[in-house]
């Protein structure tokens, strides 16, 4: 894994960020794309690669910064989570599904066969709605594998490493096998979406 250069400034410059990213190894890019697949879940119209590219763009543009000493994957994760969250909120705040007609009255023109819906102001916190959306998409990712479902729950509680291993009651080999399956599933998802 590439290391973040040391310096007197508190934040990396775009040039330093580019230097770090350009030194990513093959494994680093697999890690980055897996994170993108996880962060992108529930963002309509975005692929993991779209999200990864936008995060790098904002970092290189200078509209997102990164303190010195932060791991590059953490830097990317933070940027991607923020962008994805904003996109989900934006989607929540957008007009209702284009396939549904929104009317002030209980009737539509006779030749309009779309289902009728009333406009609705959603006053629930956007953060929570966006988080639920992301969670539901991630749950679908692990739905077919009971062990992955358990691992997902443990990680969702903020457990990781030995703590997570103890919580699910697996030995190291079983834990690492499940971790590999999960990251592989995310990596495959990123590759599949980018090939569409």
């Amino acid at each position: 894994m590439s290391t973040v250069p040391e310096g007197e400034d508190q934040r990396l410059t775009p040039a330093e960020i580019e230097s770090v990213l350009s030194k990513f190894s093959r494994a680093d890019w697999v890690r980055a794309r897996s994170l993108a697949a996880a962060a992108c879940n529930g963002v309509p119209g975005w692929t993991p690669d779209d999200l990864l590219q936008e995060a790098m763009t904002k970092l290189l543009e200078g509209t997102r910064t990164c303190p010195i000493g932060v791991h590059p994957l953490v830097m990317l994760k933070t940027a991607m989570r923020s962008i994805a969250s904003n996109e989900r909120k934006h989607e929540d705040n957008s007009p209702i599904d284009a396939d549904v007609a929104v009317a002030h009255f209980d009737h539509l023109p006779e030749n309009d066969s779309r289902p009728l819906a009333h406009g609705n102001v959603n006053n629930t916190p956007y953060d929570s709605a966006a988080a639920r959306q992301a969670l539901q998409s991630l749950e679908q990712l692990v739905a077919s594998d009971e062990e992955l479902g358990l691992l997902f729950l443990a990680w969702g509680e903020g457990l990781r490493g030995q703590e997570a291993m103890d919580a699910v009651g697996w030995d190291k080999a079983k834990y690492e096998a499940a971790r590999k399956r999960l990251t592989r599933r995310l990596s495959d998802m990123a590759a599949e979406w980018s090939s569409r």
């Binding site: 775009p14 580019e18 350009s22 990513f24 190894s25 093959r26 494994a27 680093d28 890019w29 697999v30 890690r31 794309r33 897996s34 994170l35 996880a38 962060a39 879940n41 690669d49 990864l52 590219q53 936008e54 790098m56 763009t57 904002k58 970092l59 290189l60 543009e61 200078g62 509209t63 994957l73 953490v74 994760k77 989570r81 629930t124 916190p125 953060d127 929570s128 988080a131 639920r132 992301a134 969670l135 991630l138 997902f152 443990a154 990680w155 969702g156 509680e157 903020g158 457990l159 990781r160 490493g161 690492e176 971790r179 590999k180 990251t183 592989r184 995310l186 990596s187 590759a191 980018s194």
Partner: protein, 137 residues
């Protein structure tokens, strides 16, 4: 519907744990069964596109800042935003006969809109600075 607090979003925790686990995992574990070469190629392509897009956005932002600075420096009387080229032509045509001004004998209809507007702005700026209030329309 219950609002989840910011401190406990499972999706956030999941992403944090996944990040730490990916960092902790060895390269061999991460690359096992995965096409690492393709992932790297894709990543570098994305980085290249990101760099190009970042450059475009920075240039666009610089242009906006520059335009804003120019706009602040421009006299407020008779700015291009407020006057059409036709109105500026009509005004210049009218003042061309004013003995207080010496204007080149040019056919206004042959001048470009930009030139007409520039001339108009210069004239209005001079008026604002030199002429008594109300001496021109």
């Amino acid at each position: 519907m219950m609002a989840t607090t910011k401190k406990h979003e499972p999706a956030d925790h999941f992403l944090d744990s996944l990040t730490d686990e990916l960092i902790a995992a060895s390269d061999d574990q991460v690359l096992d069964g995965v096409d690492g070469d393709a992932a790297q190629q894709t990543g570098l392509d994305l980085l290249k596109k990101a760099k190009a897009e970042a450059g475009r956005r920075r240039l666009a932002a610089a242009k906006e800042r520059s335009a804003a600075a120019r706009s602040r420096a421009t006299p407020t009387v008779g700015t291009r935003e407020q006057v059409s080229a036709d109105s500026a032509r009509a005004y210049l045509s009218k003042v061309a006969n004013d003995p207080r001004y010496t204007m080149a004998a040019r056919n206004l209809s042959e001048m470009s809109d930009d030139d007409v507007l520039r001339l108009y702005e210069q004239l209005r700026s001079l008026e604002a600075r030199n002429l008594p209030k109300g001496s021109s329309s």
